[in-house]
């Protein structure tokens, strides 16, 4: 198998111009498993393997594609609970079941080979190893299809979760700080997107005004949109949108960051079927077209990114994406940025200047009408705060909005282009989708 590093697919530089395959690649189907809080380590029908097979079958069914037609599989072989996690991520080794559940693969980890072996794919010619997260995978698949490396490619993102507190144990239980952690951990930074963003967020509030609690309008709206997303965790578990009082009274984590500013880890899987636009037109469901993909991996200049750095990074992300898609802020109808911690989303909103929102204006924008039925249907997916930590809601909602199949979540404004991402300010990727190929 090829490694993801062997294939030059990234668009991670400034000034690359319009994407050479703009509109020539399409998404023809998607599928979601149920979204559970945790896997109980017993029921093989709800393991990550079973859920991933289910997601793949749904995506193929929606596109009307058979197993034999699939010639590419891009699957992230991480359970995303993280390498720093002890009980929440060091789930192996332990007793296993009968084949195909006789190793960690199929239970909490999935890769292309396991799927090939267990779903009976016969014609897969592109199944890279070392696949990154969904934010970049969608770009990798888009480029692979555009370049002709494969023509019918499943992109699969499993997200695992089992008993135990999130990312406790492992190196977080160590008395020593090794490697890059020697510069952060002695003072209490366990490392992650929470720390990356909380200081710039604090600086943001000092520079532009506003209170942390002003985020409640955004968080509540995510919850509302989540309740309109039939497959998501919140809708399937009847998690009603929190009240302002609930939010303000909720448990502090990294004060001012509260529990409701953090997404909820879940056990779930999702799959997307990427193909050429030409093939997609003959498939079963309405295709949406890929207008650009872009990635970024910015280096920290010192210990902790500050507001200036985060704003510069998100400006550059926006410039790369808009240039490659040949579009500008006013052309983007649907905007689904990443929201795994509520404190970072304003950086993306303002960097991409969606609906004209400039630096420092996000909190007042959140306080206005950002509902899906209003004029500014921001983050119509409900994201990860509204659906659980699947990291895929942003993509699925974008597809549905462009198809006009978002149901109760369908926006009332124009829905011909959609920008979606799983990315942090420093690293990840963006995807621009279109109802039309040009």
């Amino acid at each position: 198998m090829t490694s993801s590093n062997d294939f030059q697919w990234r668009r991670d530089q400034d000034g690359l111009g319009v994407w050479e395959h703009r509109g020539q690649v399409a998404i023809a189907g998607y599928g979601h498993s149920p979204v559970d809080r945790r896997w109980d380590e017993k029921n093989l029908d709800t393991s990550l393997g079973a859920y991933t097979i289910m997601a793949c079958e749904k995506a193929m069914e929606q596109a009307g594609v058979t197993i034999d037609q699939v010639d590419g599989i891009v699957c992230c072989d991480s359970h995303i609970a993280g390498g720093s996690g002890g009980t929440a991520s060091q789930w192996a080794p332990r007793p296993y079941f009968d084949p195909p559940y006789d190793s960690e693969y199929g239970l909490t980890l999935i890769n292309a080979q396991w799927l090939i072996d267990n779903m009976g794919f016969k014609n897969v010619k592109f199944a890279p190893t070392g696949v990154p997260t969904i934010g970049e995978m969608v770009g990798m698949a888009s480029q692979a299809v555009g370049d002709g490396v494969c023509s019918t490619c499943l992109v699969i993102y499993p997200t695992g979760n089992m008993e135990g507190r999130y990312r406790r144990g492992g190196e977080n239980a160590d008395d020593y700080a090794r490697g890059a952690r020697q510069w952060t951990v002695p003072w209490g930074n366990h490392g992650g997107n929470d720390f990356i963003n909380i200081f710039p967020h604090r600086q943001y509030l000092m520079k532009y005004g506003g209170e942390h609690e002003d985020l409640v309008h955004f968080v509540r709206n995510q919850h509302k949109n989540g309740m309109l997303t039939p497959w998501g965790y919140n809708a399937t578990h009847n998690i009603q949108p929190i009240s302002v009082e609930d939010y303000i009274g909720s448990r502090p984590i990294l004060n001012p960051l509260r529990i409701w500013d953090c997404d909820r880890p879940v056990n779930a899987s999702a799959a997307y079927l990427f193909t050429t636009s030409e093939r997609a037109r003959d498939m079963k469901s309405q295709p949406v077209y890929v207008l650009n993909h872009s990635q970024h991996n910015f280096r920290f200049r010192t210990t902790q990114p500050d507001l200036d750095e985060v704003e510069m990074w998100t400006d550059r992300q926006a410039a790369r994406m808009y240039e490659g898609a040949g579009l500008g802020p006013a052309d983007v109808d649907i905007f689904n940025p990443y929201d795994g911690y509520s404190i970072m989303t304003q950086f993306f909103l303002e960097g991409f200047q969606w609906h004209g929102v400039k630096r420092g204006e996000a909190l007042s924008f959140y306080a206005g009408d950002i509902s899906v039925k209003g004029p500014h249907p921001f983050s119509s997916s409900g994201g990860n705060l509204g659906n659980g930590r699947t990291r895929t809601a942003m993509y699925t909602d974008s597809i549905e909005q462009l198809r006009g199949t978002a149901g109760d979540r369908q926006v009332t404004v124009r829905a011909e282009t959609a920008l979606c991402a799983f990315t942090t300010p420093s690293s990840g990727g963006w995807l621009m989708l279109g109802k039309y190929p040009s």
Partner: protein, 136 residues
């Protein structure tokens, strides 16, 4: 309040050796005239290691922002919760920053914008870390 103990590597050994002598040294690229911390193999501006040298900056900074760790993931620090984590910028080059628990400052009582000065704290016998304290 046991802090987590840094383990020096090849690149950071001179840094921690200096800290253990109560001195802060950070890299300076003499070609670019740019300080950088944490230490890196090459200068982040010119990409070369040829002009990197250790320099002892003046131990003066300011508190740019802070958070309070109420529910962190580090076992060894849990008894300390809640505790301050401040972002300290170096006066000599504010694009260089450090973390600090601001020893002596109660949780939530952080004077943002205040001047701080370098200090050191023992985290294990013979192993110090650099810290910052508010200038009275």
């Amino acid at each position: 309040m046991p802090k987590i103990i840094p383990v020096p590597d090849e690149l950071s050994q001179p840094f921690w050796d200096a800290v253990n002598e109560r001195r802060l040294v950070i890299q300076n690229c003499t070609a670019c005239d740019k300080l950088q911390y944490p230490p890196q193999a090459v200068c982040q501006i010119c990409g070369s290691s040829d002009w990197l040298e250790w320099q002892e900056p003046e131990g003066k900074g300011h508190i740019a922002a802070y958070i309070v760790i109420e529910d962190g993931r580090l076992n060894r620090r849990m008894p300390d919760q809640p505790y301050n984590l401040a972002l300290v910028t170096l006066d000599q080059d504010p694009t260089v920053n450090f973390y600090s628990n601001l020893p002596g400052v109660p949780a939530y009582e952080v004077p943002v914008g205040a001047a701080v000065e370098l200090t050191f704290e023992e985290v294990a016998p013979g192993q110090l870390i650099h810290e910052w304290r508010v200038v009275e």
